[in-house]
């Protein structure tokens, strides 16, 4: 019961924040609502007992990426932009197509709601108190089976860092 309440709370916050993110006129407001959406997603991760991912989402996404976004929004803050049209000229067509996609996937999920697991093979999830400690399990997996992707990800981050510094530098 507590699980359900927490899920509905965080899911509600996530969806409402997401809608507000894409509809706000002011970019800083969008950023704030994206922060709440990311925090709600972190809550969903916690509800799924993925504790390491919960804290990584907060440190990296909210504490890193969103700070970057807010910095850049302040750097390119144009008062003119706030009073212009916020939505592109293709908005109705785009909306229609997105809703068509939503309808397709939604119909697929809705029509299989009586089938256990929506057709995906369902195993009984391990009860929460018998789960292995999450950080240790992720670390074990990351450093043994997925060591190569880990190293590639670190090279990717290095390249992205260099690229971002080069692009944002002033040409003196």
């Amino acid at each position: 019961m507590l699980d359900q309440a927490i899920f509905y709370l965080f899911a509600g916050i996530a969806v409402v924040s997401a809608i507000l993110t894409v509809t706000r006129r002011n970019a800083v407001h969008s950023a704030i609502f994206l922060i709440t959406a990311l925090l709600a997603t972190a809550g969903i991760f916690l509800q799924l007992r993925a504790e390491f991912l919960f804290i990584v989402q907060i440190i990296l996404y909210v504490g890193g990426i969103m700070v970057l976004f807010v910095f850049v929004i302040m750097l390119v803050n144009l008062d003119v932009a706030v009073r212009q049209m916020q939505f592109a000229r293709q908005k109705w067509v785009a909306l229609l197509i997105s809703l068509a996609l939503a309808a397709q996937v939604g119909l697929m999920l809705w029509s299989s709601r009586k089938v256990p697991g929506h057709g995906v093979p369902v195993l009984n999830a391990v009860p929460a108190d018998k789960l292995p400690p999450n950080t240790e399990a992720v670390a074990q997996s990351l450093f043994s089976s997925y060591l190569l992707p880990f190293e590639i990800a670190s090279v990717l981050l290095l390249v992205a860092m260099i690229g971002a510094v080069v692009m944002a530098k002033k040409r003196t």
Binding site: I19, L53, V76, Q84, L101, L142, L156
Partner: protein, 100 residues
Amino acid sequence: MLPIGHYLFLGLALFIIGAIGVVTRRNVIVILMSIELILNAVNINLVAFSRLYGDVAGQVFALFIIADAAAEAAVGLGIVIAFFRNRETVLEDEMDLLKW
């Protein structure tokens, strides 16, 4: 854990809202933020299935997606800043340098 359908619907909702944001908004920074929403929807799906099957690989994959999103946001925002310095605009339909 709730039945998997709950998490799939939540992932779908966030994905669609992010997709609408990407194709509808003019401000490039808001487009980038909507891309982050899409990535989060994918993460929710991954972690939900990871919990269902007891395999931690889903969470590891979600971790890589978060790292990747960080790299992409950094580079994307670097491009936005560089472009803004040249053209003084952040609206996507005014970024038409390659057109005739």
